[in-house]
Symmetry: C2
Subunit: 661 residues, 2 copies
């Protein structure tokens, strides 16, 4: 391609971005204009993709980490010929129901690999994608799995702390097929980045084991040469591209004004004149469009070649690969869990739920050894989510199925998103429940995208004891339940643990938190019916003898307390029932009649949870009694804490008696 | 001090740490044993402090970022003679009510500068402390303010992403009095750090503008030489100290086993024999204790010198300094806000609450120009929290009172903690409400510590419009309200904004979130009584004409909708009242009778908030109607979204009519 071709093709992106933002009267023209040269080189010469087959498993992934520059991506999808991305969609940029939302949303738009916008998430998610590629390639062979993950990142992405966690992991794992192009335009919203930053990014990435270099982001030859070097590197690569934000805008180019607002009629006209683009809105010259469409079908041959290689895998391996990519669970899973539950009924486990989770994991990992992908943020021995058979993943052991994420909860959660989005694995990551705070932005994205990842969150209350209030979650259950499409399970014993694991793994349209105890708990369940009782969020664990005067609701470690309180009430001749609530928000989402039946109509309702009340009024009512935490915890042995904070069977009984008068 | 003295002094720390963990049967001996040499050099030769005056404003700060090594700090406090830290406290390590909790808690223990344990927080908080020092020194002079901030950080601290945000800020601001000693022991909980990490920390810190070097952390001369160099540097300094975790333990030294559990009788005995320490638990030889006590009073002369210099400031400046350190607000503040509210009543502002917050800030900053310290994570023009008169802080303009934090919400929130803990400022930081997710670990610590910081969180609902669901908070109000001791205000108009700012600034025992709109709102309030109505969390904004059949509860931008609905109901002859709820959790915390009076007993209760219902049942009951969000938002103009999601006066009226039958 000649220089002229390149420039006209890049200008087509610029034109569409300017026009779309102008029409929407909102959006971010600066990034698409500044990075059009980078994107043009990448999409016309390097990116392996076939616009006609946007879900081809072996496509290169392109992640626009700087999601605010969404018009870059929409323009590329339209120009390369993704059939869902019409000019009408681009005209409807940022309007209700369009496929062109303000920030790229993979669940809305074909060809968008992940949802970005919250800065740092794209680059961190891409590490999970590149990790998944490396692992799948080792398993299925390089003829079937061999693609790059390209990321376009901004200053903001690299200032966010999660980017450090991500690049440290990528460097350590030598994810050489991960290539980050940094739009080094020197401008942030407040003005020049020099207002707030003086990090040397090339040196920073090198310190994390990356190849890194600085180039002119408007020189197509330099871009191509750097990409070629990056493809050959045995390390992940950073290409810092010096660019001019809003390239072409006569007065705003190179200024913060170009970043996040429509240019306005005059500036837009001036930019188009300067760039030599037609003043007609949304117009792309035929020959330019044709060149772009050719780029969009550039990968067709590669895809067809891949189809042949895939066919050679043989029917069993093909079916396995396709099932894995679809996130369909193997038949062996439910069978294994059924057997596991039966074994629990035969010989009950009176252990911490993190330990019964470990037993469940042994059964699960045996049923899906290559796809069950666990990992921990440096708490492996405490989180108990490593199957005995699992080998640690490393650059040298890419078939390892346990990831040591380091002390990087946020990076871990973002990587889990990338692993899930890539396909091929049922990923879970572990830390203490309190540290979900660190991972929350990525967990929210999982919920928004509907990513079926699992968080194994142990040490789920003051029951962790001596580590004290910094380590004791009290508001976290509530704060997680408040996230739409987030499922939070807090099982009360080994049987519920198995049931919740089953629900979590079969939930492929959203994430699940498993909140597990540090401390031992008795096995309360004496049955394990096929219609998983946890599936409705709550169920009557122990019925009342006669008409219930009191309903006791509890989750996790406090179900034991509810059962003990029930016994004391029975001794006093008061009929009560115990409702186990492994998932409060799932109970509340049940159809009204089922919800009412579970909650029941006993005149006195008491909820027991070693956490804050926030949210429980929806079950027990404003006048219900809540036995739980009213503030932060403290450092002491767990038993002392439950007593100190009054979370005891006696407190439950007293509350009920007081109400009964 | 001779080498022998040093070793015996360091071993006193090791002995106490081993004994305390052994007695508690839990805790972390590895770090205190590994870093005892570093701490001994620092505390006996460098740290400016007077154990008899732990709150002396010009003391050097020592932050144990690796909070799990709390016994290091407790041992140092005891040995140097902090009068609250007795041997009995150390014997009660990790027990209920002791001053020696599992992780250091500044609100429990004199001499502890900040609460640590969640990794990365200490180092990030220390940046705020060093920043406050630089600013106060520029204002009050170096005779009164001139101290260092020393940090002891672990691998985990440096793996956490927030550390990158923190070091980037410190490097950019040239906080040369910040000195971080990195306990480079090569061991994390899962095993050698090489399992998960290969970052070259010296290079990494250098890339962020730090001086950085690697030394032997068991060589007191090397430690002293490095500290001397660091004190002379014009940059912040990293001293990576190669150490052996659990130094002295015969079989566990240098292994993960030394990290987080009691050594056990045999290993402990072996360690003591190897180190030449008495086998008696909690014993420190008299001469060693005497040497330590001498180190603890080493700074007495410096403190007395400081008292003289401080006296020379003159009474007005002295009083100002002391008031500021106490976090007492100036009398001018309430006067200024009173005048501001009067002006609002005289000429109402129908603007976004982020804009009315800007007006309030102008009044506030005028009343306390040097202590009102605002800043934004690169959204200054959107957050509107910069007073016109405020100059940007930089290394060259240390009297600047607006901080460009860069795109670092988490680092900003941690720095706010450090600024507050240091004293001298009323700090606030700003971003979009949705990004509180990024800052949450530091915000939780603020709540736990009772730090009076303010978060200016704009774009507080789907009302932000086109940026879409990644940028639209729906669960954040609820998730923040769930944090104990966190105050969340969502004012409905300019008058409430002023009232909430007043409450926020006067709240010096806990943090406050101000949730503010992007979109314009009418000024609904026509009065501004001296007893701030927002102080009770909610109040009747518009009374019913006659006996209310319907109570409408709303916060922020939805109060306008409630008022509109009330009008429609009135037209239909239905008496209703509007209750403005600027702080839901504060309403719920009111005494029962006041709460009942505010909530009232209208048969129909409707709550309106462009967010999830989670938490609102406590006001409206299980059967109450909620007009709000039931999932994530979408990308579209704000008006389209309110209609699309059914958050309208019509929806409120219909819900009420349906209930009334």
């Amino acid at each position: 391609m000649t220089q002229v071709d390149h420039t006209r093709m890049a200008n087509a992106i610029r034109g569409l971005a300017m026009d779309a933002v102008e029409k929407a009267k909102s959006g971010h023209p600066g990034l698409p204009m500044g990075t059009a040269d980078i994107a043009t080189v990448l999409f016309t010469q390097f990116l392996k993709f076939d616009a006609a087959a946007p879900t081809w498993p072996d496509r290169d992934r392109f992640v626009l980490s700087a999601g605010h520059g969404s018009m870059l991506l929409y323009a590329l999808l339209y120009l390369t010929g993704n059939k869902d991305m019409t000019l009408d969609q681009i005209r409807n940029f940022r309007q209700l129901g369009s496929k062109t939302p303000g920030h790229p949303e993979n669940f809305e738009t074909s060809g968008v690999e992940t949802t970005t916008g919250p800065l740092g998430q794209g680059i961190a998610t891409s590490v999970g994608m590149a990790l998944a590629e490396k692992m799948l390639a080792a398993e299925f062979g390089k003829k079937v799995v061999s693609h790059h993950t390209y990321v376009l990142a901004s200053d903001g992405d690299l200032m966010e702390g999660v980017s450090q966690e991500a690049i440290a992991m990528a460097g350590h794992w030598k994810l050489n097929k991960l290539i980050v192009m940094y739009d080094d335009n020197g401008i942030s919203i407040d003005g020049p980045t020099s207002l707030a930053d003086s990090v040397d990014q090339v040196k920073r990435f090198k310190s994390a084991g990356w190849a890194a270099e600085l180039i002119d982001g408007h020189d197509p030859k330099a871009i191509a040469a750097a990409l070629t070097r990056a493809q050959k590197s045995n390390k992940p690569s950073l290409i810092a591209c010096k660019t001019i934000i809003g390239y072409g805008a006569p007065t705003r180019a190179g200024t913060a004004k170009a970043h996040g607002e429509a240019l306005g009629a005059d500036e837009l006209k001036g930019a188009k004149e300067k760039l030599g683009i037609s003043l007609d809105a949304f117009s792309v010259p035929d020959d330019v469009l044709k060149a772009w469409r050719a780029a969009g079908s550039r990968g067709t041959a590669a895809r067809e070649e891949w189809e042949s290689a895939f066919a050679e895998l043989g029917p069993r391996k093909r079916a396995e690969f396709e099932r894995r990519i679809r996130h369909e669970r193997p038949a062996a899973l439910s069978k294994a869990l059924r057997a596991h539950k039966k074994a629990l009924l035969d010989s009950p486990q009176n252990v911490a739920t993190r330990k019964s989770s470990e037993s469940a994991i042994e059964a699960i990992a045996a049923a899906m050894p290559m796809e069950f992908l666990a990992g921990s943020a440096d708490l492996t021995g405490s989180n108990n989510n490593k199957a005995k058979s699992a080998v640690a993943f490393s650059a040298k052991t890419p078939k390892g199925r346990f990831i040591h994420y380091g002390i990087r909860e946020h990076g871990m959660a973002a990587a889990l998103n990338g692993i899930f989005l890539h396909g091929g694995f049922a990923p879970n990551g572990a830390t203490f429940l309190v540290f979900t705070d660190y991972a929350r932005p990525a967990m929210r994205l999982a919920a928004l995208m509907g990513a079926g990842v699992v968080y194994v969150m142990t040490h789920d209350s003051i029951g962790l004891g001596e580590d004290g209030p910094t380590h004791q979650p009290v508001e976290h259950l509530s704060a997680l339940r408040a996230i739409p499409n987030m499922r939070v399970f807090r099982p009360c014993d080994a049987v519920e643990v198995a049931e919740c694991w089953e629900l979590a793994l079969n939930r492929i349209d959203g994430p699940t938190v498993l909140a597990l105890t540090r401390q031992n708990l008795p096995q309360l369940r004496t049955n394990a019916p096929n219609d998983n009782p946890c599936a409705h969020g709550a169920y009557e664990l122990v019925a009342a003898q006669g008409d219930a005067k009191v309903s006791l609701f509890a989750s996790g470690s406090e179900v034991e307390i509810a059962v003990a309180a029930q016994k004391q009430l029975t001794e006093r001749g008061i009929a009560s029932r115990v409702v186990s609530v492994p998932s409060l928000e799932l109970l509340l989402a049940q159809p009204a009649d089922r919800k009412a039946a579970i909650i029941g109509n006993a005149p006195v309702k008491v909820a027991i949870e070693a956490a804050v009340r926030w949210g429980w009024d929806a079950v027990i009512g404003q006048d219900g009694d809540f036995i739980g935490m009213h503030g932060f915890g403290a450092s002491a042995p767990a038993k002392d804490l439950f007593k100190h904070f009054g979370i005891t069977a006696e407190a439950v009984v007293n509350a009920a008696l007081k109400r009964l008068g």
